[in-house]
Amino acid sequence: MKTTAILLPLALLSSAACASFPAPSERLAQAESGARAANELGAANEPTAALYLKMANDQLAEAKRLMAAGENERADAVLQRAQADAELAVQLAKEAKAKAAAKAVGAQISLLQMQNVTNGAAQ
């Protein structure tokens, strides 16, 4: 009893309002939404994007486990990681798409240049 009386205030000091930290449901929704967006953009098909998408999903799973165990503050921190991973996966997927489009046009130009050489020779 006496121990608890002393330790409890200390516990409160070291992690402020730990017991009454709300369940981070909004952040969970945001992180899940981010992971979905990354998936829809084709992150799974691009190696680096897929890596961070996996990390996001791993963090999401860890966060859910923590929330179920009542460790909301830790869950919130993990979800922030998950969000960062998901946002990065989205951007990496966009980068891959933009590079592929640029490459495709580059290929077209080389083709045009080759055709021009043939026509020039015919004249």
């Binding site: 006496k2 921190a77 951007q91 046009v105």
Partner: protein
């Protein structure tokens, strides 16, 4: 129990004190922070600085938060979390900048392709115009040649009988105009007419063949007439060639009294039969 409390208190106060005085020198930075620092340093040197400075700033601010956390809490979970996020933010800035660069490259390439197609189109148009010009020139030249040929033919009809039959175009010249009686040398006056004939012939198709035929009336021996008509035809042929008609188009032939065109019983008829016919066949 109270010792546990006091040990916890002392440790906590000590780490705070050390953190505050020595600036984390005694605690090694967690690998998350090291990674965050390295990543940011690399990204800041790349295209993000120019293309996405605002996003790069956000990443820097996150790294600063991680450094602050490290200063105040050492390698606590909060530091590691902040550093983890800082790395992602820096990589985000890099990917964002790369996306902008790739999009611009595509736009530039599209513009270049369009410009190239435009240039190709202009070049084709130019070639087409040139060909059209050449065709027009050829057509004009051909029309001019045809006009001049028609004029030459019209002039020829003033001095010779020109008709068309199944052999082709037939130019008939009276023997009396070309030769002295029983001779095969051309009279000087004949050459004037033959100059005009030669001019007209040069304007006919170079593929058409020319046969100069000599004819006599029925008076005298066949043998004599054959020989005379051959020599006369040859004289005319030689002269035409000398006036520019292509040699490989021309042959000469004697027909003697064959193929009369008039009645040999009358004076006029016999005069008509004594003739040279220049036949220009139709080109195959």
């Amino acid at each position: 129990m109270s010792r546990l409390v006091s040990v916890t208190l002392v440790t906590t106060l000590a780490s705070f004190a050390l953190g505050g005085l020595a600036g984390c020198a005694t605690v090694a930075p967690p690998r998350e922070l090291v990674e965050a620092r390295t990543t940011y340093a690399r990204v800041a040197k790349g295209p993000a600085a120019e293309l996405k400075p605002d996003v790069l700033l956000t990443a820097k601010q996150q790294l600063d938060r991680a450094e602050s956390a490290f200063k105040s809490e050492g390698d606590a979970p909060a530091t590691k979390d902040a550093a983890y996020i800082a790395t992602r933010r820096a990589l985000f800035a890099e990917a964002d900048a790369n996306t902008v660069a790739a999009t611009k490259a595509k736009t530039d390439a599209d513009a270049a392709a369009i410009a190239k197609q435009g240039a190709d189109l202009n070049r084709t148009k130019g070639a087409l115009a040139k060909t059209q010009q050449e065709l027009d020139k050829e057509r004009t030249a051909r029309e001019d040649a045809e006009k001049r040929a028609a004029i030459a033919m019209a002039d020829l009809q003033k001095i010779a009988a020109v008709k068309k039959d199944d052999r082709g175009m037939v130019i008939t010249l009276a023997g009396g105009v070309l030769f002295k009686t029983d001779k095969s040398e051309l009279l000087p006056a004949a050459m004037v007419s033959l100059n005009q004939v030669a001019d007209a012939l040069t304007r006919t198709s170079p593929e058409s063949k020319i046969v100069v035929g000599g004819y006599t009336d029925s008076q005298g021996t066949d043998g004599h007439n054959q020989e005379l008509s051959e020599k006369r035809a040859a004289s005319v042929a030689t002269y035409l060639i000398s006036r520019g008609v292509a040699k490989d188009r021309v042959t000469s032939k004697g027909f003697g009294p064959q193929n009369p065109i008039a009645d040999n019983k009358s004076v006029e008829g016999r005069a008509q039969n004594r003739r040279v016919e220049i036949v220009v066949d139709n080109p195959k």
